[in-house]
Amino acid sequence: MTERETRKFICVSCPVGCMLTVHMEEGRIVKVEGNACMRGEAYAEAEVRNPTRVFASTVKVSGGLLPVVPVRSRSAVPKEKLFDIAREVARVVVEAPVKIGQVVLVDVCGTGVDIVASRSLEAEEKRAG
């Protein structure tokens, strides 16, 4: 007997938020419904195999115009590792000046994905006003 399963996801690939219905047989996707574009199919595939999300947080800065600078994972990371990643990123301190795109943590938690600064930040003495 074929093992059939239906799973529902809200696609988070864009602000539309399509309600996806994923039909599966023997653990394989046979059909995705409800998606308005191709990103929905890729999202459904990832949600079934290995759900991923982009991680975004801040790291401490020494000598910067602000005490923290925003960072992100360069690409999506496994969802189940988000809290491990959050803990590892929380230990990072970078020195000002920081340049947007600068790598602040290589290969976070063995995911192969780097954590990069998502803004530039000057050193403190330049602050006006």
């Binding site: 809200i10 602000p15 539309v16 982009v54 975004a56 947080s57 801040t58 959050a86 998502s118 602050r127």
Partner: protein, 419 residues
């Protein structure tokens, strides 16, 4: 010391609308374009929106707020836009001139050929929603908490309740989880979410944060520090139902209960403010009721997507420059826009027959099935898969269509109805 300065186009606010307005004005040929910003930094509120989700329409990829603004600011520098930071515009006159103050130049009186208002919006505070109880520490708007965590580097608390389900509240629920706090729940007085559905999925569902529709906070507890809130279910009239109250322990209450366009300066300039949007009454050129004053972005109507804010900002800047240089084409006919069936608010409020128009609108109630957004006289019709208050819809009308309307037509009604 006080000086008068004369420029072609002045823009107030260097958020997404203002930065794009500066570019639009320069690219339309204005020589001296200055954007005035009260903060030391450019980019406005996007600098604290460090999560991805911005720019899919503009850049075909999802950027964080600071990355999105970085690209626009680079483009503005390339276009020759001048920025004046640490500069507060504290007064505006009815002729469109305004007064600025900054630590280096003191007070200046700025006279521009045209002005673009890009002041954005503010969050609705606790005082505006009348929650009984004392006022202990630990109650913040979601955006204030976002600034604390993402720019100033400290946590507002460890055990969080979110009132309202606007996008910033949802984003902050996830952010607080990632920073090690617990989020006890999100409570929304309406029967539908305030924010985008994908944010319910990726900010609440991903972390099993309870989401309660038809609920509100009826009391806050604690003297010096917040100790908890009483929540209750509400009836169809949004009144708390007796007997459904329960206590939720927390040290932090975040409010995500709506945004209000910031229009103190617009009022000083004598610009007409629409009672429902809370922003200036504009036409499709984003011209206010003062012909030399334009407005764009969340100061006009609160948008869902920054891409639309940037696009509208660019348009306002371009039209402000054209006005300052040669004047805009005069409308030979003028049409008032009205919201009909299930339309809560919309912008622009009137159309000239000289320009193509996009009308942005929000529905009053969600329709979770195929429906249709229309503009009467057969001007526009589009089928939608659904319509929700948290997600704006658009109506597109060509200038040519407007010019072809019978001479007795003076009004255009937009509707959203089930098919």
């Amino acid at each position: 010391m006080m000086t008068d300065i004369r420029i072609d186009v002045a823009v107030i606010g260097a958020g997404p609308a203002g930065v794009a307005a500066g570019i639009g004005a320069r690219e339309a040929g204005a020589e001296h374009v200055v954007v005035f910003e009260r903060d030391w930094d450019l980019g406005g509120i996007l600098q604290q929106c460090i999560h991805p989700g911005f720019g899919l329409h503009t850049f075909k990829e999802e950027l964080t707020g600071p990355e999105y603004m970085h690209r626009w600011i680079e483009r503005a520098h390339g276009a020759g836009v001048t920025f004046r930071t640490n500069t507060m515009v504290f007064r505006m006159e009815e002729d469109g001139s305004f007064w600025t103050m900054n630590p280096d130049e003191g007070i200046q009186h700025v006279h521009a050929g045209a002005v673009v208002l890009g002041m954005g919006c503010r969050e609705r505070p606790l005082g505006a929603i009348r929650v009984p109880g004392s006022r202990p520490a630990g109650i913040y708007t979601a955006g204030t908490a976002q600034r604390f965590v993402n720019m100033e580097g400290y946590m507002p608390g460890n055990r969080v309740v979110v009132l309202g389900s606007g996008d910033i509240g949802l984003i902050m629920a996830r952010r607080m989880m990632w920073e090690g706090a617990s989020v006890e729940g999100v409570f929304e007085i309406m029967s539908w979410p305030g924010g985008l559905r994908r944010n319910i999925a990726q900010c609440l569902d991903d972390y099993d944060i309870p989401f309660h529709l038809d609920h509100t906070v009826t009391q806050v507890h604690g003297k010096d520090r917040l100790e908890g809130v009483t929540v209750a279910k509400v009836d169809a009239n949004k009144k708390p139902i007796l007997g459904t109250e329960r206590f939720v322990a927390c040290d932090t209450l975040l409010l995500a209960v709506g945004l209000i366009p910031e229009n103190e300066l617009s009022r000083m300039a004598g610009v007409q403010i629409h009672p429902v949007t809370g922003g200036p009454v504009v036409n499709q050129c984003l011209q206010t009721t003062r012909e030399n004053v334009f407005a764009a972005g969340n100061v006009v109507i609160v948008y869902d997507l920054v891409d639309w804010v940037s696009a509208e900002g660019y348009k306002a800047g371009k039209n402000a420059a054209l006005f300052a240089l040669d004047g805009l084409p005069k409308a030979t006919r003028r049409f008032d826009v009205r919201g009909g069936e299930n339309v809560r608010l919309f912008s622009p409020q009137w159309l000239s027959d000289q320009e193509d128009a996009t009308i942005f609108l929000r529905v009053t109630k969600p329709i979770e099935q195929r429906c249709r957004v229309t503009a009467d006289h057969g001007l526009f019709s589009k089928t939608l898969r659904y319509a929700r208050p948290g997600e704006m819809n658009e109506v597109h009308i060509k200038a040519e269509q407007l010019r072809m309307l019978p001479p007795d037509v003076r009004e255009i009604i937009v509707d959203v109805e089930e098919e």
